[in-house]
Amino acid sequence: MRKQLLLILLICQCSFGLTQQTMSGYIYDSETKEALIGARLYSQKYTIGAKTNVYGYYSITIPTQDSIVSVEVSLFGYQTQIIDLNSNIATTNITLSKGITLESITVIGDKSLIKEPEMGTIKLTPKEVKLLPNMFGEVDIIKAFQLTPGVESGGEGKSHLIVRGGSPDQNLILLDNVPIYNPSHFGGFFSVFNVDAINSVKLIKGGFPSRYGGKLSSVLDIQMREGNMNKFTTTGSIGLLSAKLTFEGPIIKNKMSFLVSGRKRLLPIFRMMGSGISYNFYDLNAKLNYKISDKDRIFISGYMGNDAVKIDQGSVGTDFKNNLKWGNKMAVLRWNHVFTKKIFSNLTLYNSNFSSVNSLHIKNSSPGFSKEVNSKLTTGVNDLGLKYNLSYLINSKYNIKLGINSVNYTFTPNNEEYSIVLNDDEVNLDYINKISAFENSVYMENEINTLHFSANIGLRYSTYIVNNQLYDAFEPRVLLNYIVTENLSVKYAFSKMTQYMHLLTTSSVGTPNDFWMPSTENIKPETSLQHALSFSKIFADGKYDLTLEGYHKSLSNLITFKPGASLVGNLDDWENVVESQGIGTNYGLELFLKKNQGQTTGWLSFTLSKASRQFQNINNNELFPYKYDRLINTSVLVNHKFSDRVNLSATWFYGTGQPVTLASQIYVYDDEVVLLYDSKNSSRMRDYHRLDLALNITKDTKWGSQNWSFSVLNVYSRKNPYYYYYEQEIDANWNQGDLKLYQRSLFGILPSVSYSFVID
């Protein structure tokens, strides 16, 4: 700590000795006036650069006496400009026009991979995601990240983020800086994020800056679009599963804009199958963006989304209704304030809610008899939060970020309202419980950028209080980047993370049955320690990027249900049905080779990894493979642009088999054959591989543009394993034969088509 302070003072002292010019402002899209995130400014003369933050704000300090400095302003997909910045002007806002798009799907920028103190970070834009093969027209951001190293889906058709052997609850998923708890629709087939409402998305797998905390394995940082400040635009699309519509436009031109985007299920698929089952989902995003002045901006954004499954089946004298509803809601107010050219602040106030309600109604009636059972199970979590962040660009080599974060959680672990009416007698059994918890944190980040060295060194301190139990944690974060040449760098990162809430879920196929539970006196917070080392190289004039990264992650205080346990009947005693103090050990090697330029672009992603778990009373306290452990996971993405109108995209994924626990012996008890299982996850399912194709044809029209997207998933109809099960053979004479193992696959070849349009 002392050495760090000394280094900071030294850099400050060196800098104070020179005259400096600081320029600041915002960079916008020239058409829509939306802020551009990650746009770069670079002075060739002084070899100093800067980039815009998530609000499109930049601040650059050049050590010179000249008040006017020429900088190159660039962003992938936009025309590069040379701008003269004048330090005598309070704010210089810049607009960039869209340029010829290269259709490459890659980390934005070339040299940033070498120079930036960033590691294990992948950025994608919605435009890039829309070109990828999709299911029923549902383009999905999370599915795109599943094609990158170190990220897994968790199984056929799933939209989980399994990052470096972590579990789905260990991802901090932020939408406009607000946590979202359940990012999946339709059993995990696609995520809740409507691509039309999204501006940018970034996944961080390691080397976490200290501004992020609360989850162990990754940060998925999603920024919503702000809305066109110039003109009204309507965007829509229709696929086999849903329809989407987005309206945006100015309320006050160049000052205030809005965006509303919705997505809803289209075809009543289950009803059409005559099954008495219906499934519905929707998402609604809305945002208001107000530029009060060059110093102040306000954003109000919100999201709500829901899935609902209804089963309505009955026969004469019997009613059976089951309604399962789950979803997220969030609302956030953000205020940006520029104190000086060097000091930028953001205040965020938010509410985020996840809830799942399962209602059951069964009624049996006949003459003289009536029995009615009603049951309602509710689980969820509600956050009320405040964040305040300050960025201070001290000079071109050093900037500091500071912040505080305070959250009040209200957990509804598992409320039950239960009643039974038998003829005229009624019995009610209710269990209602809410648990409140507070989490507070402060952080400091020091970002250092020199010619041959950059670093992000920080510390986060967090506290958590629940039922008079206090936990706290110091979380050091270190990322060091040695720039060997302008095309080669070596990076090392160390992160300690703490997670104060836990997700309990059963392991068998199927969702959602997620229970978010707080840390308590008996259930400690989960922690992780991650080391990572990477080599990054750019070659062939930036045409190719190569990153080779190794990591080791240790997890502790993990929890899981005890085998066979559930929350049924244990609502007030849930701590006794979980195994806690579990440990996890994950390590791996990731390779990411990308072609960024030309008509054909794409990437090769390869991961070699191992993820294990250990609990005292599971598997005889022996280490066992984690359920999402895959030894090898590789993806190939190829994108070919035939012309400005026609684009073909292909992805191929291969993964070695996921773990499964199989039986190898039997015995007989009370005339029943009892299967005896081997040690947990000791067998493997078959390997998984699949080829997907997508053809996108775009056409400009008088009123805007339209696009047809044709996708084929699983082109060669591989029967990939979804799960395994046992079934006893029965012969024609009803004699029992052998017990056999079967594989269930989810789908073969799956074509789909979707149509989208933009009216502007």
Binding site: V509, P563, Q665, Y669, Y724, Y725, F747
Partner: protein, 317 residues
């Protein structure tokens, strides 16, 4: 919820494929089943020990072990060395001169070659059924069968963990039942003590067979005078005489040892999970409880209170 996974499966018209997989060849393990109860009661079980070994997955026969040495001790004194009965495939007492009693500690030792299996159990105290109530027709189910209501009242011993099993049995003598046949009635209950057990099928799991006996613990009524309401379908005839058959129902409340309770409840969980994996996958096999050192199975005990309920033949209105 699991029903949701079923919907996903239905939606995609998934397909199945037989899998050939090389499973490790594991050494067979010994499996012991023995339940002790006090001698000379209405529900007493003669002392018997079943000993088998685990078999590969598709074995068609049970491999009983008939040449082991099985020793039973009471309060550390050997009371018997059991002998193998080929008729019963069990080890039974060779002299029947000792009585098993409540509160006594019994040790079981089984020696087979170089292997030794041991276990221990203490027969719990009897918990009496204080009162039984009976409503012949509480309601009729959707098949117009009469469902009877039986209430039992008992006093739970305070300040200790107690485990129970309730079952209704009949030893019918007449056709269509064979001599020696034991008929076990289906029993269910809406009581929270039963409903809160993890093995008990939830309302959605209507496709699972109900358990033959109900096991529960005293977590929700520790030390209280407990009234448990149960429903059962007594033997009844349809056709020209629509009514109850004459029958003798043994309402049995067993106070069971913890190992007995854990083994049977985990077994229910395990067997239900086996039934469900066709829909939801072999995702979470349930572990079985065992108190047999170096083996599987259970050495448990119980003490019963039995009320015999005579039901005369009568018409059902």
């Amino acid at each position: 919820m699991k029903i949701y996974a079923f919907l996903v499966f239905v939606f995609f018209f998934s397909c199945q494929k037989e899998i050939e997989i090389d499973l490790p060849v594991n050494e067979p393990s010994f499996v012991v089943h023995c339940y002790l109860s006090p001698s000379n009661t209405l529900d007493s079980n003669f002392v018997n020990v079943e000993l088998q070994t685990t078999q590969p997955l598709n074995s068609q026969t049970i491999k009983y072990i008939s040449d082991a040495t099985v020793i039973l001790t009471e309060d550390n004194v050997i009371v018997d060395t059991l002998i193998y009965s080929t008729e019963l495939n069990r080890y039974i007492s060779q002299n029947n001169l000792f009585n098993t009693e409540s509160s006594k500690v019994y040790n079981l030792e089984i020696i087979k070659g170089n292997e030794s299996l041991t276990s221990q159990t203490t027969i719990p105290q009897k918990v009496e059924i204080i009162e039984t109530t009976f409503i012949p027709v509480s309601y009729k189910d959707k098949y117009a069968a009469a469902i009877s209501e039986v209430g039992i009242v008992f006093q739970d011993p305070p300040n200790e963990d107690n485990f129970y099993e309730i079952l209704f049995v009949n030893y019918p003598k007449n056709y269509p039942f064979s001599p020696g046949y034991v008929y076990v009635y289906d029993v269910n209950s809406e009581d929270q003590a039963i409903q809160s057990e993890s093995y008990y099928p939830t309302l959605i799991e209507f496709y699972l067979d109900a358990p033959k006996s109900l096991l529960f613990n005293d977590k929700t009524f520790d030390g209280e005078l407990k009234t448990l309401t149960l429903h059962t379908r007594l033997l009844q005839s349809v056709g020209s005489f629509y009514g109850f058959r004459r029958q003798e129902v043994k309402i049995t409340l067993r106070h069971v040892s913890e190992d007995y309770y854990l083994y049977k409840t985990k077994m229910y969980d395990h067997l239900y999970s086996q039934e469900e994996d066709i829909l939801y996958g072999v995702g979470e096999p349930q572990e079985l409880h065992s108190n047999i050192t170096n083996g599987l199975g259970v050495f448990g005990s119980y003490n019963s209170s039995v009320n015999i309920m005579f039901v005369d033949s009568m018409k059902i209105e």
